[in-house]
Amino acid sequence: MTSSVGEKEKFVLVRQNLEEAEKIEKKSISFWGDAFYRFRQNKLAMFCVFLLLVLVAMAIFVPWFSKYDYDTNDLMNTNQPPSAKHWFGTDDLGRDVFVRTWVGARISLTIGVVAALIDLLIGVVWGGIAGYKGGRVDEVMMRIADILNGIPYLLVIILFMVVFGQELWTMILAMTVTGWINMARIVRGQVLQLKNQEFVLAARTLGASFNRILFKHVIPNAMGPILVTLTLTIPSAIFTEAFLSFLGLGLNPPLASWGTMANEGLPALEYYPWRLFFPATFICLTMFALNVIGDGLRDAIDPRLRK
């Protein structure tokens, strides 16, 4: 044993450039790179992303390429069950349920995304300012939010639509009247937590302005929960629209959203179930997918799960 280590030449001191010691071996990954890597590990979430992409693609392309329009009446062929000619059957005016489903998808998804984005804008600004300024400003701003939140949101939406009409944009705006409150609360919570972090203090000592601190330091670090909330607001908006339309308070015919289609399909449930089945299924699928993606994002972003 000892003889094999006896090579005298090996026992010489080695001159080292000890500054080399500071090198970093691994590849550079940003925070988002790291988060998306973890997200990709979540098979269910990835599947839902795929599902959602398929739904969106169908919503975009089917109405273009279909030989039927969403409002093409065919009174000779009303209430036909699914067949080779009409994949999802027809409704009581002979309209092709398949194409209507995808037109409905466009509308439902648009409502969901636009409403959520408007909520995001208002919520981030409101919650950001309240959280960062603190004190009186915070109190006043959040009390306003609390009061608004106390009003039953369906009532607000219904009133809004009665006053302004049952159009697509009135419905979207109606939902944002109180929809931003949740986002504002989340953002405010994040800001409260972040504003006393040392990197924010450091920015202050460097002389950073209020805007710079809020938009360059605080909000980017709150993006995680913001993104998750955004992803979970969309299904909420879609559902609200579906619900309202289901009550008859939604969009006017022949505009089809999944909600209005479900509304029309309910009375026919006993004899022509496909008319309710298809829109309802897609509402569920979309909400499910978005919820799973939202959860997946939340897990991927959670700093505690980081190395």
């Binding site: 550079s28 040392e198 000592t205 950073a208």
Partner: protein
């Protein structure tokens, strides 16, 4: 005669002033910091040393008293321009290397932020050049510029924090427990770096820490705080060899040293505040017991300490 850079006069910082849960974090503290020196500020949790640092740099507003920087009252500056100037001259290094860098920003942007705010560079190339120069000054290198904080170790992050503070060419740097969160051998790296930078750039430091051996090594003078008050202020060697205030003695007697023989014979002296027996007549304040050596005491104690110092 050394020039005074910072003068703290009867500084008070009370949290929740007037309410039942009021905390007197800084309770009438006065001291000066001379240009080019390192003043150490030590004490245990709740003594107010960190609050003092943050109040000096205006992260907190003072409840009372003044902080003068080159003669100007820091807290009374109204003009934005003057405030910006002050931000450039006074900088801070923070304790937690994991929380003091924005995790979403690249190192180059973190270091350059001060330069961006104050318009110290003309274009992107110059900006990058300056950043690389700073990185090399703190012992890192160019390839680190495009990385994110989480890719670095604690010691490296602390160095990035130092580079960030240096980017605006400050005169005065407050180091708030800059090494407490680091491993022992990394502490030595950072302290050596800070000493070297002080020599090269003529910096003045306020070094706030609770590790007394390290503070003694880097500081010229040391102030000891206890519950919001400064109880002793003296040149480093003098403080360690001839502590006068009973709290200082207690603190020093509690420090374990890496020397088994010393440890076997060390006796800890507990501190009991009632040993002072201050009456309403006593007006304890900082009195100069020996040249440069100040102790917070009453008249009575002053005589005692003088005798004690003479007989050392």
């Amino acid at each position: 005669m050394a020039e005074k850079l910072v003068e703290v006069k009867h500084l008070k910082k009370y949290f929740n002033a007037g309410k039942p849960n009021m905390v007197k974090a800084i309770d009438d503290v006065s001291f000066d910091i001379y240009k080019g020196e390192t003043l150490g500020l030590v004490g245990e949790s709740g003594c107010g040393k960190s609050t003092t640092g943050r109040t000096i740099i205006r992260l907190y507003n003072a409840t009372g008293g003044q902080v003068l920087y080159q003669g100007k009252d820091v807290h009374r500056i109204k003009s934005k321009k003057e405030l910006k100037e002050l931000n450039r001259k006074m900088q801070m290094i923070f304790q937690d290397p994991y929380a003091s860098l924005n995790p979403r920003m690249k190192v180059v942007d973190i270091i350059a932020e001060g330069m961006d705010i104050h318009g110290l560079v003309k274009n992107k190339t110059e900006r990058m050049e300056k950043v690389v120069e700073l990185l090399e000054t703190v012992g890192l290198n160019e390839e680190h510029a495009n990385r994110y904080p989480h890719e670095f170790s604690g010691g490296q992050r602390q160095r990035i924090g130092i580079a960030r503070a240096l980017a605006v060419n400050p005169e005065f740097v407050i180091a708030d427990e800059p090494i407490s969160a680091l491993d022992v051998s990394i502490q030595a790296q950072v302290v050596n770096l800070m000493k070297r930078l002080q020599k090269e750039k003529g910096l003045t430091y306020l070094f706030i820490a609770h590790d007394l051996s390290m503070v003694k090594y880097i500081s010229d003078r040391i102030g000891v705080m206890y519950f919001g008050k400064l109880v002793e202020l003296a040149p480093s060697d003098d403080l360690y060899k001839h502590p006068l205030h009973p709290y200082t003695k207690s603190l020093l007697s509690a420090i374990p040293l890496p020397d088994p023989d010393y440890e076997r014979s060390r006796k800890r002296i507990p501190y009991d505040p009632s040993v002072h027996q201050y009456t309403d007549q006593d007006r304890p304040e900082m009195r100069e017991v020996a040249p440069g050596h100040f102790v917070y005491c009453s008249e009575r104690e002053f005589e005692q300490y003088k005798k004690e110092y003479e007989n050392r």
